[in-house]
Symmetry: C2
Amino acid sequence: MTEFELIRKYFQGKPTPSWCTLGIGDDAALIQPPAGRELALCSDTLIEGRHFPVRTAPADIGWKALAVNLSDLAAMGAQPLGFLLNLSLPQADEAFVAGLADGLFELAAQHDVALIGGDTTRGPLSISITAFGHVAAGQALRRDGAKPGDVIVVAGELGAAALALQQGADAPPALRAYLDRPQPQLACGQALAGVAHAAVDVSDGFAADLGHVLKASGCGALIELEALPLAPALRALPPGEAQTLALHGGDDYALVATLAPAAWASLQGRHAGLCAVGQIQHEGGLVGRDGQGKLNPVPLTGYSHF
Amino acid sequence: MTEFELIRKYFQGKPTPSWCTLGIGDDAALIQPPAGRELALCSDTLIEGRHFPVRTAPADIGWKALAVNLSDLAAMGAQPLGFLLNLSLPQADEAFVAGLADGLFELAAQHDVALIGGDTTRGPLSISITAFGHVAAGQALRRDGAKPGDVIVVAGELGAAALALQQGADAPPALRAYLDRPQPQLACGQALAGVAHAAVDVSDGFAADLGHVLKASGCGALIELEALPLAPALRALPPGEAQTLALHGGDDYALVATLAPAAWASLQGRHAGLCAVGQIQHEGGLVGRDGQGKLNPVPLTGYSHF
């Protein structure tokens, strides 16, 4: 099957949403974004052996490639519209493409996002997705708006993807799903748009990604270590080990946001998925407080691609 | 140098255009597209050894990765705004990134397009760019609008990139530039927007890409073989060989458009870069007419990535 036939069979022919005036199959796609909104655009590449283990099921690769991009839109508070898919394949392997399309469109359907374009080529296995969505002008969640006194909140659970990666083939399916099928926190992100001062999604690790907010905003943070929303699978581990995974493990695709205490008080009851884990401070650096009230610096390390 | 440091040094810190309310460095970029225009989005991946020869100069890789995407926007008649860059590198090689950034930004500056986001990761060398631009609503150049009787015009020259690829390291620099530094036909594309019935850019080869227009539009075409705008380097070749390169060689990034004879008559004098090469016909297939008036079918073959 040629490149064109593969694309046609698995990626074309889906209904085109009304905001998309020209979908897959031309030199470019055409969209009419909603009037008066800003358009958020992001793009992430997944490489075999680096962003997903070799022999990951094709459907999981498809899911994850879209999920990490939707997570970036969630971290902006944006409502996703669609995406472009650039697929590099070692060979025109129909079973692989069919599986990948399955996982990809399963997540796309859950969030009503449409594939509108992209590219397929032969090369080492990698997938780049460019996703876009919209947000009210001026209300997007940037990284540089955190203010001393802000409550730090997390949407989602921490540490399970890193634990699944550690356990490799031995990870039970429910744990493995955290790594292979992360759920982008779109609803929480949208609830935080125009409300929170700053947000980031947790891809490199909680400490590293919160660190990006602290650096961009020029402030520090105190984290209540016992308040971190550990994934259930971590609760059986020794507390130190669980905390290390939650603080420094990557691939969680949780959101971390900072907002004024009053805004948090009014949001708190209405969003079960959010929990407060600390406070933004004037001083630089990240400090963790344990259950005994003891303070310790937390290194801003996470996963580095180089 | 880490991923973050490389990105910061070579890709951040450029001025952000007014339509971009948030550039590189957050989870997503934010743009405010011009009101009342459609947004055109396209994305192409370049892989070493497939889309550019191994040992291509990094600056040429950077140029070409952007050029092929701007060529897609040209084929829509769009005015480019910006792009996202996804770079996969075998190692954090500063000299390579510096060279790549040089070529990329040289072309970007020529067309006033801004880098607003993307991703850098470790992996086999590949570059995905997602470019976007705007076009008056309803005036974009699609592939499916060609009509019998339309004049077929070409902007740019044909065959030289394929000849350079054939000659490899022996290609003189001026010829090699056709392969490494294609010039997207943005001005011609914009002049054709709202005027031409259909357009496509020549990436896989003139016959193959015109074939996409014929298929999408449900018609055929007669090409005057002697009217094809051969690149100067092809004029020294035996005519048959030159025509084969012009018809079936890839990587030209010329534009092929079809427009009503009256529209062509009024445009003809004003755009020196355009030349008429044939006519759209009712019957399917592509037919070439040589200097003696002899008709021969032209296969719709070009470069296939699989």
